[in-house]
């Protein structure tokens, strides 16, 4: 069994193990889940240790024919982009599980679903066959639907249904595109590399149509304006650990898929470049302004995700090395930032049971540790120099400027808006008049702090010393940008 398969089945195996455990012993279940997730994290770091940065090719490849008549196969493998996402996913899953202490009803089901979700997400990032990719993609929906629907907030049923409908609606287009692609190509195979190799045989017009299908499918997930309607609702209603996963990894699946689709259909992307940039810039400003207007903390972070993913799309749309690097960096940075903010705001919500920012005040006095980590997380969200977000935004800015010139001034506008709501939030939460009802808030507990330290530490550390992350993806990005350069 290859190391990727080992990693892939570790969470599922843990889930199966939990299913066999007695349901009353919550501590045991939690312990086993955390252990399984930690093993997955270790396995992903083992991949990192064995990964050769200098190669742009897929590594750790495993191919097992699945249904030869349909041309499907179990093909997994990773390049730098996949690996960065896998590292992020295993880390955030562990953090999310660690932050799940407040889940007390139907614990067994909860942990099983989260672990299945983890496997499905990992599968998306390592699949090298579009059919396999699609299977994992849809597989994430099932646990998520139940997680939101059963453990969510007041309006959870609506949110869960809404989420599934939106995503399924998008997936339909993606599936259509895949089938058209499969049908048109002479090889009749779903393998990503074969599709990539044969795509140039298709007329450009058809390529554009196929890519638009992908764009809708992945765009819903990312999400991009105007198909982001599921996001505020789902983020707000989902339990906080699931919010971490939703915005930390699930959104990245969208942008990751888009990068893969763009790789498959470079000519289509080039002709749609203007559209992509327009969507990106609109998402960027639109999400930022709406985030600024929210008094609900979770909703605010949700809209800020729209804005941040706009940066990712902008980076992808540049189609050059700097921009694509920035896009992947932003995916990692936003994973850490969104993970940290949802973690901290979720923990805060557990203590106060309010998400209304107007109810908070002067927390610095009672919860200095909260204040410290939340401030770092929000500063990371703004992308201040010294945080990982800055590295990402800078790359996107450079790449965007190369391609689009002064148009990227809108990106700085987006950053400015994000500074407005981030600083506003920090100010509202931690300073201001003393409120009696905010006086007995318990500060971060050691285990919670460990999770916060890992995420905020990552934000700062990679902000100051981004070389490992840049080196990890540079070979893959070089190859990717060369693909586009050849068609430009």
């Amino acid at each position: 069994m290859g190391s990727l398969t080992q990693l892939l089945i570790t969470p599922v195996a843990t889930a199966v193990l939990i299913a066999l455990l007695p349901g009353q012993n919550q501590r045991l279940i939690r312990g086993v889940a955390l252990f399984g997730s930690a093993i997955a994290l270790l396995l992903s770091w083992r991949l990192f240790a064995g990964f050769d940065n200098s190669l742009a090719d897929l590594q750790f490849m495993e191919i097992v024919p699945w249904n030869p008549r349909l041309g499907t196969s179990y093909a997994v493998g990773i390049d730098g982009i996949s690996l960065s996402m896998i590292l992020l996913a295993t880390l955030l899953c562990l953090v999310a599980l660690a932050a799940s202490a407040s889940i007390t009803k139907q614990v067994k089901g909860y942990y099983i679903l989260v672990l299945v979700l983890e496997s499905a997400m990992l599968g998306v990032f390592m699949a090298q066959d579009w059919s396999l990719f699609y299977v994992f993609w849809e597989l994430t929906l099932i646990p998520l639907f139940f997680l939101i629907d059963r453990w969510g907030g007041k309006n959870r049923q609506g949110a869960a249904l809404n989420f599934v409908l939106y995503t399924m609606g998008g997936s339909v287009f993606m599936l259509l595109s895949l089938l058209v692609l499969f049908d048109t190509l002479p090889g009749h195979s779903f393998a990503m590399d074969q599709m990539r190799a044969g795509a140039h045989l298709i007329s450009e017009q058809k390529q554009v149509l196929i890519f638009l299908g992908f764009l809708i499918g992945f765009g819903v997930k990312m999400p991009i304006f105007p198909i982001h309607g599921w996001l505020p609702l789902a983020h707000v209603e989902a339990p906080s650990p699931i919010s971490i996963l939703l915005s930390g990894i699930l959104l990245k699946m969208g942008s990751y898929g888009l990068i893969r689709a763009a790789q498959t259909l470079p000519e289509a992307v080039i002709s749609l470049q203007g559209v992509l940039v327009a969507i990106a810039l609109v998402s960027l400003v639109y999400g930022g302004l709406l985030a600024w207007r929210q008094w609900d903390l979770k909703r605010m972070i949700a809209y800020s995700s729209v804005s941040h993913m706009g940066v990712v799309l902008l980076g992808i749309a540049t189609l050059n090395f700097a921009g694509l690097t920035g896009a992947v960096m932003q995916m990692m940075a936003h994973g850490l930032v969104a993970g940290a903010t949802f973690l901290l705001i979720g923990l805060l919500y557990e203590r106060t049971h309010t998400r209304n920012i107007n109810d908070y005040s002067s927390l610095l006095r009672v919860a200095p540790r909260f204040a410290f980590f939340t401030t770092i997380a929000f500063i990371g969200a703004v992308g201040l120099p010294g945080t990982f977000g800055f590295i990402a935004e800078l790359h996107v800015l450079v790449g965007g400027f190369e391609r689009w010139g002064w148009l990227v001034v809108l990106l700085t506008l987006g950053v400015l808006i994000s500074a407005a709501y981030a600083i506003r939030t920090i100010g509202r939460l931690f300073t201001g008049p003393v409120r009696k009802e905010m006086q007995d808030i318990v500060d971060l507990r050691p285990s919670e702090m460990a999770a916060a330290i890992v995420l905020t530490g990552g934000i700062v550390l990679l902000g100051i010393f981004p070389a490992p992350a840049l080196e990890l993806i540079s070979a893959s990005i070089t190859q990717l940008s060369a693909t586009f350069a050849a068609h430009l």
């Binding site: 939106y166 709406l290 207007r293």
Partner: protein, 530 residues
Amino acid sequence: MPEFSHSVWYAPLFALIPMIPLLPLLAAGWIGLSYAYEGNRGESGEKITARVAIGASLLSLLCLLLVDLYALLTGHAPGQVHIVEWLNSGDYHINISFTLDALGLSMATLVATISLITLRFSVNYLHREAGFQRFFMILCLFMSAMLLIVMSGSAVMAFIGWELAGVSSYLLIGYALDRPTATNNATRAFVTNRIGDAGFILAIFLALTWIGDVEWPSILSGVSEMSTLTAGLLAFGFLLAALVKSAQVPFSPWIARALEGPTPSSAVFYGSLMVHAGVFLIIRLQPVFEQTPLMMLFLVIFGLTTALYGYLTGLVQTDVKSMLIFSTIAQVGLMFLECGLGLFDLAAWHLAAHAIWRAYQFLSSPAHMHLMSRPTRPVPAWLGRRRWLYTAAVNRFWLGSIGDWLLTRPTKTLAQDAQNFDDKVIIPLVGLPTQADAISSLAQWEQRRGGHHPLAEGDIGLGHGLAGKLMEGIASLLHWFEEQLVLKGGGEGLINAIQRVGGQLQKIEVLLSQPRYLLLLIMATFAVII
């Protein structure tokens, strides 16, 4: 001087020279740091503070005396001593260097001696004063600054000392931090001094542009090749600096106000040392002034006017320190006059003698009341008869008021207008909060507790200022769009539509399951088949 650099004594002496101004500076630094880390605070710290200050200045004086001795024995002053290049940018080279000719050496010795005496005097005079350590620190700083001025090898080095002296003067005039008069006067003295600094900077700039170097020897030799006009402009810059520093008319008023500081500081600053810095600068630049008859004329005019001003005003003063200071100004005016008449050597001797004499007078001024055996001399009869002159003298020729009227008041009004503009136009436009959100008083806190929340709910999403309002408007619009179209129309709309379609299908299903429709369907099928 080549002789100096070839002597065997060159190396050790060379190492000593930078120590001369550096030692008091280090002492000042030590006193400040030690105070910050609570090393020498309080009465118990006075002894060590005084020891360090006096020790440093004594060492500095000894170093100077060694150099003096060397100069006397060999018959050659060291002259221009180049230490290290400090700044090298494009065509501009600025060195750390010293000019230790006869003038520089003798002046430095004078400065070091008087400073040392004053420091020693202050040990008793300031005993048990709260600001003892601060005073000693600033005095050391000042000593270093004065040494730097008189030993400086270039205009830039002199300017550094010039500014340091200005700052330490400012700090000592405002020594009594809690007295508004003292702090006001300190500010006033400092601001007036900046006028002179402007002249100094202008001169440095001109020297760099026209001569390309700011070393004194280069300026002095370079000026001979310049036209009278350009040399005059250069000299004018230095003259302005000198006039202000030496409190010549019309810049005199600051020095009388400067007496707010403790007596020993008045002695060194305004009695004997700093007030002479201007004269020193003129003497240092003798060839520059000799080149320009107009500037010589200015020297005569300003010197004569100041001498008369100081003399007349001094006659009508009623307190010891004021009397002394006006007589000082008069004497310094005479020195300017002497320079203007070309008697630079005389001015130098006059300077040295006057400095020593004034230092003695100022330091003993607190004891004058006890030493005096007869009542103060009345205003001379001839002055008393000329009422207009008497009034003018009592009012110090209205120099201070004129300065106020010409400069201070217009500046204030302008600042007020700018403030108004800022309050009424800029702040609303930019959207800066006029008052901070934090609670500043107990009353405010009570008010908030009483239910009145200035930070009431719902001001999320409200912008301030032009950009903020614009952002607010766009955000509201987008919010409406989001609520109506994306959320209601998109998400919920989708669900509603599905439900509606589902309902319709349900109806059809129900209908179809009824026997008559089923029969109809079967018949229709048959019809089709047939």
